[in-house]
Symmetry: C2
Subunit: 307 residues, 2 copies
């Protein structure tokens, strides 16, 4: 199978990124960050979440973020954990929501406070109501290539969950290697198995750089026909095991790779770099992203000889 | 073409890595570092260089390093820039040497102080003398996917150089993306073209993480039949454009990926991590490597929900 001519990047920095940052950004700064990402050409930007601010204070005021971006139109999904969150999202003008389940029982119990089956039960009316209200629904599955508590996760569980979410009405299912343990062949095998049950066009991949494998895994997934890739500007957030290059794959690394492969993304790398600079200045830290550093490094340094 | 069952990693940290570090390690520490790498299972460890200490003071005393490791046997190549360096290497007991040329004229002139043709002329008697003395000779080609001065480098230049080095007696030619600008399809195309002129088994790849692309490129090269990969423990050194994840690909990231793909390397990851810890403690800085951080991070941190 050949790699797609174009790839849609789902920018998750303003949600999956910022919710894992120690510094909490104001609504103004989050709106400005999202506007810069849209201006860079990202067609889908996850704008926030309606999880209780008690649990995720970084996402407080997502309703107001959506209202200020009302003119933008589609392409701003928000995460909703339940019906209450969904109703709040609808009231704020959301046109797309995302729901999340885990492929690992232990992870689901510890992080979502319910079993995998219960999470599906809980989401059924949420998805139904969202579809009735004319919203698009995206599904996340976490721990698809490993769980911090259970270790290996059977691919059959992922295939079953993905098919179920798709049948329930999720137009797209994002396969998340939440702890970043997967490697390219595992990623390809999983994508191939899931694509046996639902159209590969309905799949996205969501890789973390915990072990530096994200880009290689994405390249593997592309070779299986995947054409939607989740990424986070500057590598913001992600799994907070360790700081540095350990979170979500950096959007600019994905764009750089795809540019080099001649795959269209619609994203202008210099503008994306500016969005990364902007948000990190507000967070008060340097971006850990290699592409950011390389593109902003002084060009007068010369490499040494011999390899 | 399927990926090889086993891959030989050429560990370049003690040379290509340390020669680009600000801190200069003692001979004792360099020997101890190499011993730890060998103990981790690395079969080939580049032990140093015989470039003048005026240019590369970090490699001063490579002769003494080799003498202290005399019992090790083969598998310790050293870089030699000319006949003087070669004779010193032979006198110190070297059994393998490496020579280096650039695929870009401007890079060759600025960094090797001669044209590409002149560098080949200069190396011809070096390779000849090394072979006469019973040494194995490895060839490096730098700037194979881009040059900091010229930009694009024609693949025909790389193919021609690789064939020439192989014909001159280099048992292996390492294709180096010195400034790390390449992406997977470019890497694959180049490998395919070079492998049209010499056996793919005589090729190694040498990628840098300047733009975070190294592992994806390696995965691409493996799919073209490459089975020798250069890497540097902890991502030491490499191109000093920017600090952090910008140098050589980290050996532990390569081993992690290959382990996950079921490809044998003979390297024990925990022992390699110990070698990375050791050398960085001597250098007085933290390793930038994601795998190092993930494997040494406290395991009690928990990832957050929703992707």
């Amino acid at each position: 199978m050949s790699v797609a001519d174009s790839v849609r990047i789902v920018e998750v920095g303003p949600r999956d990124g910022l919710q894992n940052e120690a510094a909490h950004l104001s609504i103004e700064n989050r709106v400005a960050f999202i506007e810069k990402l849209l201006d860079a050409g990202l067609a889908t930007v996850e704008a926030g979440s309606f999880v209780s601010p008690r649990w995720v204070p970084q996402m407080q005021g997502t309703d107001e973020v959506l209202r200020r971006l009302a003119g933008v139109g589609a392409g701003l999904p928000v995460l909703v954990p339940n019906l209450t969150g969904l109703e709040a999202a609808i009231a704020a003008g959301a046109r797309e929501v995302a729901v999340f389940v885990a492929a690992s029982e232990a992870f689901s119990l510890r992080n979502l406070n319910c079993s995998v089956d219960d999470s599906l039960e809980r989401y059924a009316p949420v998805i139904e109501r969202a579809l009735e209200a004319g919203l698009a629904v995206r599904g996340y599955i976490s721990c698809v290539l490993g769980c911090p508590y259970e270790g290996r996760v059977p691919s059959a569980a992922v295939v079953w969950l993905a098919a179920r979410l798709h049948r329930q009405g999720c137009y797209e299912v994002s396969l998340g290697d939440t702890i970043g343990v997967g490697t390219p062949m595992q990623a390809r095998t999983l994508v191939r198995e899931v694509a046996g049950e639902l159209p590969v066009g309905a799949l996205a991949v969501h890789f973390h750089d915990t072990y530096g494998q994200a880009l290689a895994n994405i390249y593997g997934a592309l070779q299986e026909g995947v054409s939607v890739v989740d990424a986070s500007a500057g590598g913001l957030g992600g799994c907070p095991y360790a700081r540095g290059a350990s979170g979500n794959v950096a959007t600019e690394a994905v764009v750089y790779m795809l540019d080099g492969m001649g795959v269209r993304t619609g994203v202008a790398l210099p503008k994306l770099i500016e969005a990364v600079r902007f948000v990190h200045a507000r967070l008060g830290r340097e971006p850990a992203s290699a592409v950011y550093r390389a593109m902003t490094a002084r060009a007068d340094a010369t490499p040494t000889s011999g390899g």
